[in-house]
Structure formats: C-alpha cells, structure tokens
Symmetry: C2
C-alpha cells in the first residue's frame, strides 16, 4: 500500500478534467468530419458497432457503444427514421428487438472510415506507438479497476 498523503487536488492536474480535455481534443476532428454527413458522434458510434459486430439488440449496443439505454432508445429511433438502421422484433423473446445496419447506413460508414482511420493514426504518431499503447493500457486498467461497478463494459 503506497503512502497516501491526501494533498488537496488542484483542478489543474485533475484526472477527470484531464480525461475530458484530451477526449475533446481527440474527438474534435472526428466531429468535424461527421458534421458533413449529418451524423453525431454517438450515431456514428452506434453505426460502427453494428457494422463491425453485426445485428444486435439494444442492450448489447448500449454496452458496446457506452451509451445509456434512454439515450440509445432515442438514437435508434432517429437512425431508423432516417433509414440508416432497421429494427426487427425477436420471435423467441418478444421484449427484444434486433437492430441491423441498412445499406444506406453501411454506405455512410464506408464513406468516412478511411478518414477516421487516418485521424486515429495521426494521434498514434503524435504520441508514438509505444506511448500510445501504454496510454490505452493505463486507461483500460483504470476502467477495469476495483472501486466501482463497471457501467459500460
């Protein structure tokens, strides 16, 4: 057990604020890219999940995209209205519905994935591959640590 001095944490050098600011920085160019397609960051995340892992029910999408169910419920409704996803009710469990990405939705993904990949690669280069991987490891360790129940695995 390391010694804990309990010094008052300044709002500078605050982990939550640092996480927020770096995320803002990383997402800025991606948001700019998506605006041209009329997609929000969260809608993009949902489409990417559906494209990468195939049809899923809402609960599973929420877990993977790190969204709360009320938000996802609205997002799926909007995406369905715009023809980017299709809902199908499950025959075995009539509470559940499976969401599938539509051809139009997949087209949006295809249009933007190359540029998104390039943006991600830029940040990787900025830190260097080793430090980038180290950062991801530290974040994962922080997220999976003990103190609290995980909200979005």
């Amino acid at each position: 057990m390391a010694r804990t001095k309990l010094q008052l944490p300044s709002t500078r050098r605050s982990l939550p604020i640092a996480l927020m600011r770096s995320r803002e920085k990383v997402m800025a160019p991606i948001r700019d890219m998506l605006r041209a397609s009329g997609l929000t960051e969260q809608q993009w995340r949902v489409l990417r999940i559906l494209s990468e892992f195939g049809p899923q029910d809402l609960t599973e999408i929420a877990r993977q995209a790190c969204l709360l169910m009320p938000s996802l419920s609205r997002i799926i409704r909007s995406l369905a209205q715009n023809g980017l996803v299709i809902r199908a009710s499950d025959t075995k469990d009539r509470r559940r519905q499976t969401v599938v990405i539509s051809p139009a939705g997949q087209h949006l993904i295809d249009d933007n994935l190359v540029q998104a990949t390039q943006i991600a690669a830029n940040y990787r280069n900025q830190l260097g591959a080793e430090r980038y991987e180290l950062l991801l490891d530290l974040l994962t360790e922080l997220e999976q640590g003990p103190p609290y129940p995980v909200k979005c695995a």
Copy 2:
C-alpha cells in the same frame, strides 16, 4: 516519422471510447457523492474553480472548467438562483461580469472536498503513483499536441 500501417481500428482499443469509459469510471463515485448535495458534476467543477482561483468572469471560468459558454451561462444562472454564487458587473468593461462564490457555495465545497480528495487518492493508489503521473502526462501531451486548435486550455 513512424510507419503508419493504417489498420482498421476496432471499436475495441479505440482511444476516444477508452477515454470516455475511464472517465465514466472515475466520475461515478464523485457523482454519487455530489448527488447528496444536489450538485451536478459541472456545477461542482465551477464552484471548485471559483473556490480555488477566486472571482472571475464567465469566459475565464468556461476556459478553466472546460465548459462551453452556453452551458456555463445556464449553470451560473442556476447557481445564482440557488445562492451559491454572486454575479457583479464590471465597472470598467460593462460587457463583463465577475462571479464570486458565496458563503453557502464555499460551505458546499468544504463539506465535500475531503471525500473528493479521498476518492482521487484511491485512483492514484490503484494505478500506483508513478503510473498515475505518467497517465496524466500522456493525457496532457495528447491534449496539447499539434493537430487541432485547443478548445479548452
């Protein structure tokens, strides 16, 4: 220049998502603490800034708390209605207004700061002091890097 293979990034091992998830994890116990005081995470951040750095105008608070002006405008209005901050218009520049934390606001800070400090120390211990500092350094480097104009310094 490191080689850039441009491999398709999975939504697993995505930096933006990792940043979001770890922030959720870190903030969860703090939000739980604040709920007892009827404060949101953002209101808490504004009060802490005012408590730590003294009276400031809205633009400066927004910069320090990493909030956009429209959000801050609403938050300050709400805090003022609840008597936690006081607005005073600047005599030199009549566009500007200086915000001061009230005794009631400072009381809320005092009530929660010890526990907040303990929560922060827990995460520091979880990673270990060196890895914790390393994480903060990497996040700072990511935020201050070249690609895009900084939104909240």
